[in-house]
Symmetry: C2
Subunit: 72 residues, 2 copies
Amino acid sequence: MDIRIKIGIRLKELRNEKGLSQEKFSFICELDRTYIASIEQGKRNVSIANIEKIAKALDMSVYQFFKSDLFK
Amino acid sequence: MDIRIKIGIRLKELRNEKGLSQEKFSFICELDRTYIASIEQGKRNVSIANIEKIAKALDMSVYQFFKSDLFK
């Protein structure tokens, strides 16, 4: 599976666990809502700086973000 | 510490553990040697697709790449 798809699945899963809408989440991580949407659609080759922003907005470390069978 | 610095430290550490020069390593992961050098200098906001290439060249998963106190 393409890594971009995996990132999208993981983000959606974690965002939903937090009970956050894309809109609320994008506000917290200071990224555009359409950008968050396209990440979740597996369309983005996200940079590590944005992964870090996303992880922080999810109250987790970058290590925890990647701690999923998707990335093992 | 900036995430780009952390990525650089981690890559250099793992590449050295493998006993690979930057030149040999860049050949294995099909990325330019100067690009690898600048990642190790903490200058690059690396994309997840390139992190995956780097992890594969190190014979590890993306999860294992981030399994370091640097990212916890």
